[in-house]
Amino acid sequence: MRIPCPYCGERSNDEFTVLGDADVLLNRPTDMSLAAFDAYAHSRSNPAGPHRELWYHYGGCRQWLVVNRDTRSHAVLGVELARTSQRAS
C-alpha cells in the first residue's frame, strides 16, 4: 500500500503511523460534556468502505495527513494535509 504524500510523493505505508478516524479526531467537541467526550474518545463508525484517517509521515516530511482510504481494498482515494482538510476545526 502506498500513500501519496503531498510533499514527498508516493511512499510505502511503513513510513507512516496511523492515529485513527480523522472525522472524529479533528472535530474535538467544544461542549465537553461526558457524553461528548465519551463519543470522541471511544465511539467509532469503523466503516467497510471509504474511511478518512489521520496518518503521520514520521519517515519523511513529518506532516499529519488525512488519508481517505477504502478499508475493503486499501485503495487510497485521496490525501490532503490535516491542517488544511475540510473537516479540521
Binding site: R44, H51, R69, T71
Partner: protein, 416 residues
Amino acid sequence: MKYSAFTVLREALRGGTGWLPAWREPEPKPEYDIVIVGGGGHGLATAYYLAKEHGLKNIAVVEKGHIGSGNVGRNTTIIRSNYLLPGNTPFYEWSLKLWEGLEQDFNFNAMVSQRGVLNLYHSDGQRDAYVRRGNAMRLNGVDAELLDAAGVRKMAPMLDFENARFPIEGGLLQRRGGTVRHDAVAWGYARGADSRGVDILQNTEVTGIRVESGRAVAVETNRGVIRAKKIGLACAGNSSRVAQMAGLHLPIESHVLQAFVSEGIKPLIDGVITFGAGHFYMSQSDKGGLVYGGDIDGYNSYAQRGNLYIIEDVHEAAMALCPSLGRLRMLRHWGGIMDMSMDGSPIIDKTPIDGLYLNAGWCYGGFKATPASGWCFAHTIARDEPHTLNAAFRLNRFTTGHLIDEKGAGAQPNLH
C-alpha cells in the same frame, strides 16, 4: 452418531459409507426463541451451551458464509490463561478448564495439546513485569512458573541465547497452555449444537435488525425475515457493521492481523514460544509447519490481507530469536479482521436495546476464549444478565472508566 474408536473401526469395515452428516442444513423457520448472528467459534459455542447448559430449544445460528470460514478457521491456535488483570484472569482460566474437558464434552477430537506457553524475557524490567503477571496468575489459582536462562535452554535450546540486543534471561511458563486444532472447534461445537436441535443456517447473511419500541424483534436476511425473542451478536471483525443495523455505535475498530505457516520440518519447537520484546510468537503444528505471527498492520481493514512491511517485520523477529529458521521458506500467509476494542479487552453484555446481546471486541485473542465466551454469552442471553465471569466485560465500561487495559496503552485500538 457418537464418535469413538469403535465407530471408526466399524465404518472402516463398511468402506466409510456409513458416516452421517455432522450437522443438518435446515430451511430457516420464520421465528426462533434465540438467533445468534455469526457462525464462528464464539457463535457456535454460544448455541451449544444454550442448548446443553440451559436446555433451550428453538435456536438458530445465522452465518453469512460457511461456518468456520472466519477467524476460527485461520488463527494461530494458541490457548492460555496467563493474563494480568482481575477482570480477565478468571475468565480465561475458566476457558482453559473448559478446553481441558472439551473433547469428551462435545465428542470430537479437537487435538487439545497442553504443550506449554513460554513468554521469554530479555531484561530485568521485563522480568519484573512477568513476575508481577505470574503472581497475579497464582493469586487466581492459575499455574505459572518463572524459568531462568538455563530453564529456557532445556526447553528450547535452538534459540539465540547470546543475542546482543535481546539476550534470553528467562521466561514465564504456563505449562497448561498450548494449542488446539481450530477447525475442529467449529465443527465440534456445530455438531454438538445441531444434535441438540440448533438450526445452523449457513450462507444466510443478516442485512438488517428490526427494533420496535426499544426491543429487537427480528433479523432481516438474504433468505427472508427471521423473528426472534432474543438476538445475540457474535460477529467478531464485522461487529460494528452489524451493530449499526440496530443503531448501535461500538468502541471498536476493525484491523488486519497477518499470520504465517512455514514449510513442514521435523519436530523443532515443542511448545508455544513468545518473544514479547520483538512482538513475535511461534509454535509448530503436527503437520510440521511452524505457525507464527506478530503485530497487527495498524490501519483499519476489512480486506483480510495485509502489507509487506509486516511480513518483513515478523520474519526479522523470527530471525532475531532463532537464526536457524533462516533456511525455511514461508509456505502460507493470510490476514483476518480483528475487532480491536478501546482497551484491548472484550465485551460480553446486554445492550441498551432489549433482547439484543453483544459479544465483540476480542482483538486478536478470541480463539483461546472460545469456550468461556460461548459459555458466558449463553448465560447472559439465557438469564438476561451477565455471569460473574463476564461481569467486567461491560459495553459501558468505557463511559464509566472501568477499563481492562492489560498493556496500559489507552483508548487507541491499534495500540492493543
